[in-house]
């Protein structure tokens, strides 16, 4: 019994000290963090030094960064990526709505479409579009228009169709996920107000679905910018193709690949900034959730 009394007094003594909030606190030192941080910096420095002393002519990189044919290639990339993405978004929305249709033919068609264009490699699809003249030598719309396919299916058109349609198979799923993520009560409230299916989708469901759609679409857009480089294989002279044409002549392979890399990073950085701006705008009304 006496020992219990003693410990009680000691506890009370500690308590009062803590309660007054004067007790000094000693943070733990995580030495491992210093070591790993230092290791990373050292490795980075070694890599930078290696490239500095490696056989890269940085002067050539600087020289070709703004060469005319590279800038034209850059322009073609900047034109192609949004156009193909736009095609991918429009077709993707149509496919997503078909996928959710109560009509079994519609939804089965959408499933088959996604299976086909997601399931085969993008590069292969580009080759198929580019060489479609082998299957259909002329394109004819009766009484209106007839033309050799080879004149229609230029590298530009083949790239646009190949990348856009392939993209739509992915964006369709993004749209569908976004639409499903909107609370069922929203559609019911719209219906109860006498809004029809199309109106409700356009004014109520899609604006809310956009919150879930924009981040992955931003991601897909970045993927699209890089996927335009595949078009170099079918003679569309975007950045990579432009860089290749130069190094086939002057043999500065790595230098020109670095030039292309710099420009891709530049475009993607701009897109990332644009995306966060867009996300803030679409998040209106949701800030405090």
């Amino acid at each position: 019994m006496p020992s219990t009394g003693k410990s009680k007094i000691m506890t009370m003594g500690n308590m009062s000290c803590l309660e007054m909030g004067r007790t000094e606190r000693i943070r733990r030192k995580y030495y491992g963090r210093y070591v790993s941080g230092l290791a990373i910096v050292v490795i980075l420095l070694l890599i930078v030094r290696a490239f500095k002393n490696g056989m890269i002519d940085w002067g050539i990189v600087g020289e070709f960064l703004t060469a005319e044919s590279i800038l034209v290639g850059l322009l073609k990339t900047i034109i192609m990526a949004p156009l193909a993405m736009l095609l991918g978004l429009v077709l993707g929305l149509v496919i997503a709505l078909m996928r959710m249709s109560p009509n079994p033919v519609c939804s089965s068609f959408a499933v088959g479409y996604m299976w086909l264009f997601r399931g085969s490699p993008q590069l292969l699809q580009l080759f198929l579009w580019y060489n479609i003249a082998l299957v259909f030598p002329t394109i004819t719309i009766p009484y209106l228009f007839s033309m050799p396919t080879i004149q229609v299916m230029t590298p530009f058109v083949a790239t646009l169709l190949g990348l856009g349609i392939c993209q739509s198979a992915y964006t369709a799923e993004v749209f569908r996920a976004g639409i499903i993520s909107v609370d069922k009560g929203q559609g019911e409230a719209a219906a109860a107000l006498g809004m029809g299916g199309g109106l409700s989708m356009r004014r109520i469901i899609l604006p809310q679905a956009m919150r879930a759609i924009v981040p992955p679409v931003g991601n897909e857009f970045i993927g699209m910018v890089k996927a335009t480089s595949l078009a170099s294989a079918i003679q569309y002279t975007e950045i990579l193709n432009a860089a290749q044409r130069i190094y086939y002549v002057n043999n500065y392979v790595i230098e020109l690949l670095i030039v292309a890399t710099v420009w891709y990073l530049f475009i993607v950085s701009l897109l990332t900034i644009g995306q966060s701006f867009l996300e803030r705008r679409i998040g209106r009304g949701f800030e405090r959730r």
């Binding site: 719209a190 219906a191 109860a192 809004m195 299916g197 004014r203 800030e287």
Partner: protein, 254 residues
């Protein structure tokens, strides 16, 4: 008085679970009816059938004499087009348990959305009307707030104003206060009382027996998909005849 809502032989199942058993139910013009009963008794489903958020397997619902969802020609019922169903719904206001305000629109935008895009009235006129409605529900200063910036009670009052903006001939309330913190219930009930006073026909699914006693013309008790008993609030709440009504009321009052 004429019948506003007339329901005959309504039967509804979700899969193998039958939630409405041959329900007959009538609401007169200007009448305020409270539907009470344990959860799962089919009250909400009955309400949702009236404005066709659910489709019943059999039975007929008439609102203002018009069969909901079907048109009758030479002894057969033909399914209405989505456009016609939408038009029928636009005359019936509905208030949901979870408010279901549009979160991407401000309070004012929530209210003017359907009048502009469904009724086709001019934006300026819709805004004028919406401001008046917001004032009526005591939220004149909240027109630019998003739903996430409003309390539950305020959201529900905006939702009521939104439904009223369509000038409905009938208002359906699906447990309008069940999702609210207790101290916010009265502000919503007060708005509903005002509505009752101006003669709106209302069907209210609720657990607020006090509101039912004070405001309702008639109270109906539902259990296991059937309307077990209905009568004046006095009759039903004070001296219920049916034993299930009795035990439900005593369990709610405890």
């Amino acid at each position: 008085m004429s019948n506003k809502v007339e329901i005959r032989g309504l039967t509804k199942s979700f899969g193998s679970v039958q939630v409405l058993h041959d329900v007959d139910f009538t609401v007169k013009e200007g009448e305020i009816v409270c539907l009470i009963g344990p959860s799962g008794s089919g009250k909400s489903t009955l309400l949702r059938c009236i404005n066709q958020l659910e489709e019943a397997q059999s039975g007929i619902i008439r609102v203002d004499g018009l069969i909901q969802g079907w048109s009758e020609r030479s002894g057969k019922l033909y399914e209405l087009s989505p456009r016609n169903i939408t038009a029928q719904r636009s005359h019936i206001g509905m208030v949901f348990q979870r408010f279901n305000l549009f979160p991407h629109l401000t309070a004012l935008e929530n209210i003017i959305e359907a009048p502009i895009h469904v009724r086709g009235i001019r934006r300026a006129e819709a805004i004028k009307q919406a401001r008046q409605l917001l004032e009526n529900v005591g939220l004149a200063n909240k027109q630019d707030s998003y739903p996430s910036e409003l309390s539950g009670g305020q959201q529900q009052r905006v939702a009521i104003a939104r439904a009223l903006a369509m000038k409905p001939r009938l208002m359906l309330f699906d447990e309008p206060t069940s999702a609210l913190d207790p101290e916010l219930v009265s502000e919503v009930l007060a708005v509903m009382k005002n509505l009752a006073e101006i003669g709106m026909t209302m069907i209210v699914v609720t657990h607020e027996l006090g509101f039912a006693r004070e405001v309702a013309d008639r109270v109906a008790f539902m259990d296991q998909g059937r309307i077990v008993e209905s009568g004046t609030p006095e009759e039903l709440l004070t001296s219920p005849r049916n034993s299930r009504t009795k035990s439900f009321i005593s369990s709610v009052l405890q």
